[in-house]
């Protein structure tokens, strides 16, 4: 899932300082699961912002709503009516959600309520780690399902680098060495021979570096 975290209340307050009627929109998908931008988090931010504005003598007319997914027009259309009554919208979706809403309502200012971080998983309650860069050319099969492109600080495809200590990365001692995990995993599934293969340089043309990417799948087009 996409992992995000709430923007500091002070920053959020400053973003909408010029508006009197604001719509806060939560998203019921990834950011709800990562406790950043769901119905409850929008509620907490709303309490805080309303109080801050009241104390400043500039009361805010704030409407809250959470939709199933902000990254699909099918769900964004539910915002048409509340958006028409607001001066501005704060999206508590990921960066994609913010932009999808901005595209749908071209004449409304749309602000982000979250900072979007990465594609990751829940390790334990309230702890998320990054697992995927979205490089567009998945190599997980070669590494026992562990991604060194994302999880190795040096992005080594022919690791390990030799710098790890006690199975931890030398760049960040709190982070496990990805190549240690690759080795353990390949050993467990009986595929250690994969480490004999020299992996050629990665084709990065499918990655983000040339700008935003687009995928078209004609078989599903209507």
């Amino acid at each position: 899932m996409i992992v995000a975290s709430p923007k500091p209340i002070t920053e959020l307050k400053n973003l909408i300082a010029r508006h009197g009627k604001v719509l806060f929109v939560g998203c019921g998908t990834c950011v709800t699961v990562c406790l950043a931008g769901g119905e409850r988090e929008v509620g907490i931010a709303s309490y805080a912002i309303r109080m801050a504005r009241k104390i400043e003598g500039q009361p805010l007319e704030l409407t809250q709503i959470a939709i199933e997914r902000q990254c699909e027009n099918e769900f964004i259309k539910d915002l048409a009516e509340p958006a028409s009554k607001a001066d501005a919208i704060v999206s508590f979706g990921c960066g994609a959600g913010v932009q999808a809403i901005a595209e749908r309502f071209p004449s409304k200012p749309v602000y982000p309520g979250l900072n979007t971080h990465f594609l990751g998983i829940l390790e334990e309650q309230a702890v998320w780690t990054e697992k995927c860069l979205g490089c567009g050319d998945c190599m997980l099969a070669q590494f026992g399902g562990i991604c060194p492109v994302t999880r190795c600080a040096k992005r080594m495809l022919n690791g390990p680098c030799g710098g790890s200590t006690e199975k931890q990365c030398e760049v960040d001692a709190d982070r496990p060495c990805a190549w240690q995990i690759v080795f353990t995993r390949l050993k467990a599934i009986g595929q250690l021979d994969r480490l004999d293969d020299v992996v050629p340089p990665k084709d990065w043309s499918t990655a983000w570096h040339a700008g935003a990417r687009k995928i078209v799948r004609p078989e599903h087009q209507v």
Binding site: A48, I49, R50, M51, A52, I55
Partner: protein
């Protein structure tokens, strides 16, 4: 002295209004015991009976502040003594987070306090209530205090 609400205006006859969220297994029983022992504590406090401080959501506290309450006491079991193992530890993390928010928005984190006590600690409960009443009295009315909240705290 007539207290100020921090915005330059003053509110006559102001008395702090405080909510105490009390855990069923400790603070609520301690408050009950204090009553049975005829111990006196300020009438500024309204007790809300909670099954555990871990059940108190951040929204409950924020909504009370938005409605103009001057202070909130969250009273849970002693650390290690939670009936649900760690509800009070979770409540402490949540109150810490809300205190940060209250500081940033200008309400003031000192208006929210969490304490730990057992069901037998009636005198401690009374002390903690007296402490927060005095602390909030010194801070003055909540900046979100509105005129309709100036009625006597002794009324039902």
């Amino acid at each position: 002295m007539i207290p100020s609400n921090g915005n330059g205006s003053s509110i006559p006859h102001w008395e702090p209004r405080i909510i105490a969220f009390c855990c069923n297994y400790c603070a609520y029983a301690a408050a009950d015991l204090a009553g049975s022992k005829r111990m006196q504590y300020p009438a500024n406090v309204r007790i809300i009976h909670s099954p555990c401080t871990g059940k108190i959501e951040m929204e409950h506290i924020l909504e009370a502040f938005e409605k103009g309450i001057d202070g909130i006491l969250v009273a849970g079991c002693l650390e290690g003594g939670c009936h649900f193992l760690e509800g009070n530890l979770r409540a402490r993390k949540r109150t810490d987070r809300i205190r940060e928010i209250l500081d940033k928005i200008g309400v003031g984190g000192q208006r929210l306090k969490m304490v730990n006590l057992s069901a037998a600690m009636a005198p401690t409960f009374v002390e903690r209530v007296q402490e927060i009443v005095e602390a909030v009295r010194a801070l003055g009315p909540s900046p979100l205090h509105s005129s309709h909240q100036t009625e006597s705290v002794g009324e039902p």
